[in-house]
Symmetry: C2
Subunit: 179 residues, 2 copies
């Protein structure tokens, strides 16, 4: 009974995820507890971050996909990129990028032009209104992120960022298509 309360080596109390992993370990003693725990935690925390940002950005009447697109364009030189570049960075399909661009265009935030150099490609350009919208969104997103990570020790945030960078590099080295 007591062991259930503090079985973490770090002295922290067990949480919901520890309990779930413990269930599967009892079913299968060979289970890699470290990997399973990390996998669940990563998914949960990412989900919570996504929800928190979405909630904070909702007051501006904006969806996450719109933020992703306008900021990707805002970073481009001349605020212009091809549709293909945008879909690869956002890791979505070509059908999805067509839909996103149509919606952004109908709001007047981007313009679509055929690339004169290669007429198969579409050049997407941020309009002045889209540029202003992007500046509004990056500011709101920055403060939403601040709120999400507030109260966390600085040191922990830095260590997390560092370890996730290592993980990212390792995964991308194994599977170049993940780039």
């Amino acid at each position: 009974v007591w062991a259930v309360v503090v079985n973490s080596p770090t002295g922290q109390q067990t949480d919901r995820i520890d309990e779930i992993v413990e269930f599967w370990r009892q079913e299968n003693p060979d289970l890699d507890v470290t990997t399973k725990t990390l996998s669940m935690r990563l998914r949960t925390v990412a989900h919570l971050q996504e929800q928190a940002l979405r909630r904070d950005l909702a007051v501006l009447g904006v969806e996450m996909w719109e933020v992703e697109m306008l900021l990707a364009l805002r970073r481009a030189s001349g605020a212009q990129r091809t549709a293909g570049e945008l879909l690869r960075e956002a890791r979505i399909t070509s059908g999805a990028i067509t839909n996103r661009l149509s919606r952004l265009e109908s709001h007047g935030w981007v313009r679509r032009d055929v690339d004169p150099g290669d007429r198969r490609q579409v050049l997407v350009t941020l309009t002045p209104a889209g540029w202003a919208r992007a500046d509004e969104l990056i500011a709101a997103k920055n403060s939403a992120e601040q709120r999400f990570y507030a109260k966390m020790p600085r040191k922990t945030l830095e260590r997390l960022g560092h370890d996730l960078r290592t993980l990212l590099a390792t995964v991308e080295a194994r599977d170049p298509s993940a780039r």
Copy 2:
């Protein structure tokens, strides 16, 4: 020019995310680089993990939502939970849970019964076929997770899990609705 190649305090090379954050820092010198970097890395790594698991599980003709549901039921005593419990654990809306259960039921993996104790509730029970399916899926998911984290130093995985647990606890303490 040279500073772009190695500006990480850890001695690692800069990557795509470092470059993006550096762009925004130049636009706004007050930017909290630690937070922004972590936010982007967390989202990216979680996305890659999701894609990797989905790809590995696709050979069984299964979607992630199905794995999530069957494993949640498999853990329950008597392989039975109410629809409400399932939607809270999966963090989805009530409409979504109804649809998921209908699809699982049509495949013969779960059964739906009115709770005799409270006729507003629906009791969801894993069928024998659903139980077998769940056992197949947990095994496949475990090896997919192993593959995703292979090549990573054990020590780093443990530290990541520990730090993410701290983050999760902090977030949930601030916003109990995130539980």
